[in-house]
């Protein structure tokens, strides 16, 4: 190991989120955390554990049950010079805050001619597969990506969960960070100690390959990696973890597809106008002569996320990804 190697610790993904918050609150005393049950309990997933003890009840605030109110208050907190990190308890619980997000969070800087900054973060556990009641399973990234003025990051690994959250907190613009709750306590990996920032807008090649590009983010990165394993005897699949949906690392996407000529995009969210559609459209516009087959999407279906005894039939599976790869290879 070289002398400049960064010390790391093995952490679960949710522990890496917690680590990022501890580091960033210690680094910048204008950073504060607010949300439902984030203080005394440390969050329903313990992502904010220990913050209230370490930084006090004014910097890790248990709020009323009030998603739109919390995000609206965060807008005002920014105007008072704070950098609020808002937790939405679950993906679908964030929908009431879309009013504030669309009408104000994404517009206020613009509305002031760029004179005021709104460096807030909205972070939330997202996604299915966790055997939960209704509306604890959604993948709402499209709503956020579609909102001008807002950036969106979706980590897939513990190191990125820490680094992207730190980048989001330090970013001058509002950032929504979607944390894949399915792998909160199963994704384990080396996480740099202390300050660790993963720049927004840089995709990660999770696995190199030459025959087909599997594009994913969040919990679907692992599904793609397992599909690549399953296909390994016949196909060399590259897995591209986008990490940030906005800004999108178009160069890495185009470079990978230029190399492989084939692309399958995998998302949990329903198909129509999902982010996979944006990836496919971009490739149609910018990479048509590099493609040797159609860009295929493997997605959730255009139905409400099902009750959990049916959810395995809804979530993109390794089998569905393998099937899509075989179809594009046979094209």
């Amino acid at each position: 190991m070289s002398a400049t190697a960064v010390a790391t610790r093995e952490l679960l993904l949710v522990e890496a989120v917690n680590d990022a918050l501890h580091v960033e609150l210690a680094r910048d005393d204008s950073v504060m955390v607010l949300g439902e049950d984030v203080g005394r309990l440390g969050g329903v997933f313990r992502a904010t554990s220990g913050l209230r003890d370490a930084f006090g009840a004014n910097r890790c605030v248990d709020t009323p049950l009030s998603e739109a109110g919390i995000l609206g208050a965060a807008v005002g907190l920014c105007m008072a010079g704070w950098r609020p990190v808002v937790e939405m308890q679950y993906d679908a619980f964030s929908y009431p805050c879309l009013d504030q997000l669309i009408n104000h969070v994404g517009r206020y800087r613009w509305r002031t001619g760029g004179t005021m900054a709104f460096p807030l973060v909205v972070r939330m556990p997202y996604g299915g597969g966790v055997r939960a009641p209704e509306l604890h399973d959604d993948s709402p990234e499209t709503y956020y990506v579609h909102t001008p003025g807002v950036k969106v990051a979706v980590p897939a690994t513990p190191a990125d969960a820490k680094g992207l959250l730190a980048a989001a907190i330090r970013d001058p613009d509002p950032v929504v960070v979607l944390e894949p709750k399915l792998v909160y306590r199963t994704a384990r990996g080396a996480v740099p100690e202390g300050e660790h920032v993963v720049e927004l807008g840089r995709a990660r090649v999770a696995r190199e390959g030459s025959d087909v590009t599997l594009v994913a983010w969040g919990a679907m990165v692992g599904v793609c990696e397992r599909a690549a394993d399953a296909l390994a005897a016949q196909v060399s699949a590259e897995v591209l973890d986008l990490r940030t949906l906005k800004p999108l690392d178009e160069e890495s996407l185009l470079a990978s597809v230029r190399k492989t000529g084939k692309c399958v995009v995998v998302q949990e969210a329903p198909r129509t106008c999902g982010f996979a559609s944006e990836v496919a459209a971009l490739l149609a516009e910018r990479a048509i002569l590099d493609l040797h087959g159609p860009v295929l999407r493997v997605t959730g279906y255009d139905v409400p996320y099902p009750y959990w005894q049916l959810e395995d039939w809804y979530m993109p599976s390794v089998e569905r990804v393998v099937d899509a790869v075989q179809r594009v290879l046979a094209f």
Binding site: P64, G69, G76, M79, W82, N103, D171, P172
Partner: protein, 350 residues
Amino acid sequence: MDAVEQGLRRVIGDGNEPDRRVEGLDDDALLELHRSLVLLRTYDERSVVYHRQGRIGTYAIYRGHEAIQAGLVHALEPRDWIFPSYRDSAIGLLRGLPAATVLQWWRGHPSGWWNPEDVNVASICVPIATQVPHAAGLAWGLALKGSDAVAAVLFGDGATSEGAFHEGANIAAVVKAPLVLVCNNNQWAISTPLSAQTAAARLADKAVGYGMPGLRVDGHDVLSVYEAVREGVARARAGEGPTFVEAVTYRSAPHATADDPSLYIDPDRVAAEQERDCVALYEAYLTRLGLLDDARIDSVREEALATMRAAIQAAEDEAPPDPELVFSHAYANPPASLAQDLEELRRVHA
């Protein structure tokens, strides 16, 4: 103090009760308040004319509500923040915001942008009630940083039906945010009367549910608004949390320049309300005090008219906005895709 005021507080006599003086407001302060009322009135009157002349776009008229706006601003210190609704679009004039800036906002020109920190007036909030949690958050955030500044937020009676009002008021009360919530109860939300908006007898009663005091004042009476907001400001600065002020008035003008109130409003009631016009009411009060005469009224009006003539001229003299502003200011650090879009715009429209 956490009760709800039952009656309708007045300072200006209504025929039954005599005129009062507001403690601490000397003659100069009373006359300054008059200048503010007249400036707001003149802005509004001229804007309706400018709209008819095609010089500004659709405009939300606030005639009759100047007492609420001016009473509020005068009860605050310059370091205190104001969160206006769209019906209070020109309130920043009382903080030195150029009238041309607000005219440009209504002309759809991006120079209608202003830096809220220059005047401690937040941007005009178009969606109903969504500025209430902003004001709560700002007031709370300033208090957390040790400032003694407070915030005041303006909204209408219809806004009290919105979730954002409830969530903002509740959070403000829970964190004891130094905030005054001022409800302009003009009894109409476009064409929907108050009776179709709420079953509550008094909007101020809602304050009880949030654990804050509720004050009720005559919204035609600028001094009663001033006095009530000042009480709320004092509580806020003392760390006692938010206060709800219901200023009862009546919308005797159309909702906006595109509205047709003849479809839903009783013209006799409008005529009766116009008899109690807030500017005329205050001018009569000052005249009774011997502070105002016709000559001074004329000179204050002329001063305001001159301001507006210069403002519309400045707005119209300004060059059309640079098309590249389409891509400006949404992000501090924009995605690269916006630069590609800008290149396309330049190429196609070169």
